[in-house]
């Protein structure tokens, strides 16, 4: 019987691998996701036949409650809140690993025999990674939701405290391994790891969130793999390491798109601001041209090609639907409209793509950064909505700037640039953006959604 279950687990693992592969191609993504779900169902059903299980009522109750909450969240969530939801789900995976490890420790220390060392190591690892994932994700959730400051929260001695906590975590792990029957050690480990999880994410600011969300995704996989070692269960080990690897790849992609190393993002050290770089007054002084929705509408009338560059500001003002309507209106007048999407625009990997898809923007109209830059000089109007650092030409021109070398969308090369923004306030990097004072730039100050709606009205009137 146990052999049959294990073969079934192998089938489930294969389904996960094929499913995950499917998720990397647009045409196979839906099927990939379904295969993953089928694999999961299979794994759970097989587990229910395990002879260790004496009673089912609690399991069924847990499955029903969890399933209902999960389904409700998945159906109700607004697409603009996607980053928060992903963060929370990551965290739940982490806490589940902690709880399973805690239960396994108790089960294995009930009898007189001492549990094997590899088991206790796995239990410590599972509790540790799970707790870091859970609390890190909760902090990420709080930041994304705006419950705690979106900014990087830095304080003196942060690195030292983190190092001390890391040392404490290691020491407590050793204690768990040496004296597993002492339950205090494990829960103390979980407690200290929780503090570490909070402190690791607290210093990371808003625009770096895509990296953190991807990294926590990787951690949630590693937590599952550690739980696999606790239970000597291969399907958990395989699945956990697959997810760990995929999260790590996404993390790498995000870091590359910001031209920063992972340690640099995690320890919150953007190059010190204000040391010799030009001040806002020097950059903007008298050179910024402000415009009105009506004026932009007139520009649109003669434009043949328009490229829209969305940023986090579009998500904040929920402007994706008006933006799509504006694009449709322009297209109906014979203008070509495309979207240039920067890989780290928004608060999670692919954030802008999800929002635009929600607003029914056709997949073909979405172009990535390299495609957009290839022929941006042929674009009549580049319309920047709520983006700042990802279109700052300083990244290209000033090797001493905080964002030097970060790949950007070269909107400054378009014939005309229209920037919709609330004010001239700097973006996350905290530096002024010379784009706003270029000869071919026009600033449209105001809320993104309202500005776009006004443009639509002006276009319709003319």
């Amino acid at each position: 019987m146990s052999a049959l279950i294990n073969i079934g687990y192998l089938v489930a693992s294969v389904l996960f691998i094929i499913g995950l592969k499917g998720l990397t191609h647009p045409r196979t993504a839906v099927r990939g996701n379904l295969l993953g779900a089928v694999g999961m169902l299979l794994a759970v059903l097989l587990t229910l036949t395990n002879q260790r299980i004496i009673s089912y009522e609690w399991i069924i109750l847990g499955l029903i409650i969890g399933g209902a909450i999960g389904a409700a969240l998945a159906i109700k969530i607004e697409m603009t809140s996607m980053p928060e939801l992903v963060a929370v789900f990551n965290g739940f995976g982490g806490i589940a690993s902690v709880l399973v490890a805690g239960a396994a420790l108790l089960e294995n220390t009930l009898g007189p025999e001492v549990p094997m060392m590899q088991l206790t190591i796995a239990i410590a690892a599972s509790g540790l990674i799970g707790a870091v994932t859970f609390w890190g994700s909760l902090v990420a959730f709080g930041k994304l939701k705006g419950l705690i400051g979106d900014n990087a929260i830095l304080f003196g001695g942060q690195q030292i405290i983190n190092a001390a906590l890391a040392a404490a975590v290691l020491a407590l792990s050793c204690w768990v391994v040496i004296d597993p029957a002492n339950g205090v050690a494990f829960w103390l480990l979980v407690g200290v790891a929780s503090v570490l999880g909070v402190l690791l994410v607290i210093p990371v600011g808003g625009a770096d969130m895509p990296v953190v969300v991807a990294l926590l995704n990787s951690y949630s996989g590693l937590a599952a793999a550690a739980t696999g070692f606790v239970l000597s269960n291969n399907v958990l080990i395989i699945t956990g390491s697959l997810v760990g690897a995929s999260g790590l790849i996404l993390t790498q992609i995000m870091c590359k798109a910001m031209n920063r190393s992972l340690t640099n993002v995690l320890f919150g050290v953007l190059a010190p601001v204000g040391d010799g770089g030009p001040t806002a007054d020097e950059v903007y002084g008298g050179k910024v041209k402000s415009t009105s929705p009506e004026e932009v509408a007139m520009l649109f009338e003669t434009a043949r090609r328009v490229c829209i560059i969305p940023g986090y500001g579009m998500a904040v003002s929920q402007a994706q639907h008006p933006v799509a309507s504006l694009a449709a209106l322009l297209e109906s007048r014979g203008t070509t409209v495309e979207y240039g999407v920067h890989p780290v625009a928004g608060r999670m990997p692919g954030h802008m793509n999800v929002l635009l898809a929600e607003a029914d923007v056709p997949y073909e109209a979405l172009r990535d950064m390299d495609e957009t830059n290839e022929d941006i000089d042929q674009v009549d109007i580049a319309l920047v909505i709520g983006a700042n650092d990802v279109v700052n030409p300083v990244a290209r021109t000033d090797p001493n700037s905080a964002i030097a070398g970060m790949p950007i969308i070269d909107v400054d090369k378009a014939k005309t640039v229209v920037v919709i923004k609330r004010s001239l306030s700097p973006g996350f990097a905290g530096i002024p953006n010379p784009l706003f004072s270029l000869d071919n730039s026009l600033m449209l100050f105001g809320d993104g959604k309202k500005a776009v709606l006004d443009m639509i009205a002006a276009l319709k009137d003319s």
């Binding site: 990397t24 587990t47 395990n50 056709p362």
Partner: protein, 93 residues
């Protein structure tokens, strides 16, 4: 010890498989890939079900049931929301 070494072997090999199958991801799929893979990491539910069902003590059962709830939210919610997102991408193509 042998079980542990086998587990470790599988772990390392699966990481390589993970790196190999996820090669080039179009940016459009970054979010669905993340939420989909996250749902898969809810596989911890397998361990949770075992803890909840073996009824060693009150405490282990309670821990197990809580773990079942969290892991199931992770799986069910993750797969469903991924499906919802992918459906939005699909309907236009």
């Amino acid at each position: 010890m042998e079980m542990f070494i086998i587990g470790l072997t599988i772990f390392v090999l699966a990481i390589f498989v993970g790196f190999e199958i996820i090669t080039k991801i179009p940016p459009t799929l970054h979010t669905p890939l993340m939420s989909g893979s996250n749902a898969i990491s809810g596989i911890t539910v397998v361990g949770a079900v075992l803890s909840a069902g073996s009824q060693h003590t009150m405490v282990t059962t309670t821990l197990g049931v809580l773990a079942v709830i969290f892991a199931t939210i992770n799986c069910v919610g993750g797969f469903m929301v991924t499906n919802r997102m992918l459906a939005m991408f699909k309907k236009k193509s």
